[in-house]
């Protein structure tokens, strides 16, 4: 029963119990293991995708510490599966809450930010001024660069959250009119929904990838 437009994003499954957060654990049930059971088509999909992503990312890190690309591959898989399962009917989208996205993005950012400023103070201060700025703009550039560095965790979190909420809201808006309209336009609505669903699937994958790639980029700036 839809009490208001945003009731899909409500984590409470019954009065007082917030069991909808269990959808975060669906990741564990949906990734096939492979090595203990034996290779199959399903396990090959996951292992192929993760291998590709890992190979992409390990060149962005130094040779001695490129195992951290495993962390980012796992993060991508986690966010993508949460986004995709949220598209299924009656499944809760955990990444549409700032609680989840911020708790993913903030520790990543604060780790690199704190480490960089404590250990490489001169480097970080020097990089507040991009090379080749005219001397008139220098004070403003420092302010702008520092602000952009400080709002990075919130941009990472809010970007993912806003995309998920916007997509789901559009789908709900388009489909809730099916109860009040006649059956003639039902298939027109289904067609519109089809296009939106295709968009949403693409957005689910792309947003996960964007978050991970930006985190990697921020890590290289230290």
């Amino acid at each position: 029963m839809m009490t208001n437009l945003f009731s899909v994003f409500d984590p409470s499954s019954s009065l007082g119990l917030a069991l909808n957060w269990f959808s975060l654990a669906l990741v564990m049930f949906l990734i096939p293991l492979g090595k203990s059971i034996g290779q199959s088509r399903g396990t090959t999909v996951v292992s192929w995708a993760v291998k590709k992503l890992y190979n992409e990312m390990k060149v962005l890190f130094s040779k001695n510490s490129n195992m951290v690309a495993v962390l980012f591959s796992a993060l991508f898989l986690f966010i993508m599966i949460n986004n995709m399962t949220g598209l299924l009917p009656y499944v809760f989208t955990a990444t549409s809450h700032l609680v989840v996205t911020l708790s993913l993005a903030f520790p990543l950012w604060i780790g690199y930010f704190g480490f960089g400023w404590v250990n490489n103070l001169k480097w970080m201060l020097a990089h507040l001024m991009p090379q080749g700025t005219p001397w008139l703009l220098m004070p403003f550039m420092v302010v702008i660069e520092s602000v952009s560095s400080l709002i990075r965790p919130s941009t990472l979190a809010v970007r993912l959250m806003a995309n998920m909420i916007a997509g789901h809201l559009l789908l709900i808006l388009v489909s809730s009119s099916v109860t009040v309209l006649n059956l003639m336009v039902f298939w027109g609505i289904v067609l519109a929904q089809l296009l939106l669903v295709i968009l949403e699937v693409a957005v689910a994958i792309i947003q996960a990838y964007v978050l991970v790639i930006l985190s990697v980029l921020y890590s290289s700036e230290v």
Binding site: Q39, T44, L87, T179, V190, L194, L196, V197
Partner: protein
């Protein structure tokens, strides 16, 4: 749950081994006639037969004796009609979203399914080939290891033989040397003894007088 295993008929067990020991003698013993069946669970290579994508064929066979070909379809339609009319399955916005997602999923599987399956099978073959090459290398390494061990044992035995033979030859040499020494010592003693016995007192006096004369001439010259 109603699984296909529960409804599978007994005659599908055509791969099991059945041993029947008939009674050949006139006097029948207690365990003369025994049918022993050794049944090993089989792992299926292909998924079971389904109709409309997800309904097992065994359910249709279950309905066939009583209701014929159209039985299961009528049953399914009536169940759906019951669910919709009693509002157990409410047609709301999530239903329409699920419907459009279902259409998208079926379209993707029909269109891209065979290509993706082909690609994944190729990946599986590559993985199997890679592991097979690894096995071959492992066997070669083990064979080489055993060869090295055999070589080491052979060389150790050669050294053992050499030392044993040398021990025996040394013994022979030592005995010969000891014999020669004993003979020489005995000969010297015999010669000296005989010479000493052969010296008469006159010869002794004459030798002493000669020595004194020599000494006198030497002292006169010096």
């Amino acid at each position: 749950m109603l699984s296909r295993l529960a409804l599978r008929s007994v005659k599908i067990n055509n791969g099991c081994l059945t041993i029947i020991r008939p009674s050949t003698s006139v006097t029948k013993s207690e365990d003369a006639q025994k049918a022993v069946t050794f049944e090993r669970p089989k792992q299926l290579v292909y998924p079971g037969k389904v109709r409309i994508g997800f309904i097992p064929e065994e359910w249709f066979q279950f309905f066939y004796p009583k209701t014929g070909v159209t039985g299961p379809y009528v049953f399914g339609t009536s169940v759906l009609a019951y669910l919709f009319s009693k509002e157990i399955w409410v047609v709301e916005h999530e239903f329409v979203t699920g419907l459009s997602l279902g259409i998208f999923a079926v379209f993707c599987i029909k269109k891209f399914g065979p290509k993706v399956a082909e690609f994944l099978d190729k990946e599986l073959d590559n993985t199997a080939q890679f592991e097979l090459n690894g096995q071959t290398m492992l066997y070669d390494a083990k064979r080489e290891n055993i060869g090295l061990q055999l070589e080491a044992a052979y060389r150790q035995r050669l050294v053992q033989i050499h030392s044993e033979v040398k021990k025996r030859l040394d013994y022979q040499l030592e005995t010969t040397n000891v014999k020669t020494k004993l003979e020489q010592r005995h000969m010297v003693n015999w010669i000296v003894e005989n010479v000493r016995k052969a010296i008469t007192p006159d010869q002794e006096n004459a030798a002493l007088k000669q020595c004194l004369a020599n000494l006198k001439t030497l002292s006169a010259n010096a």
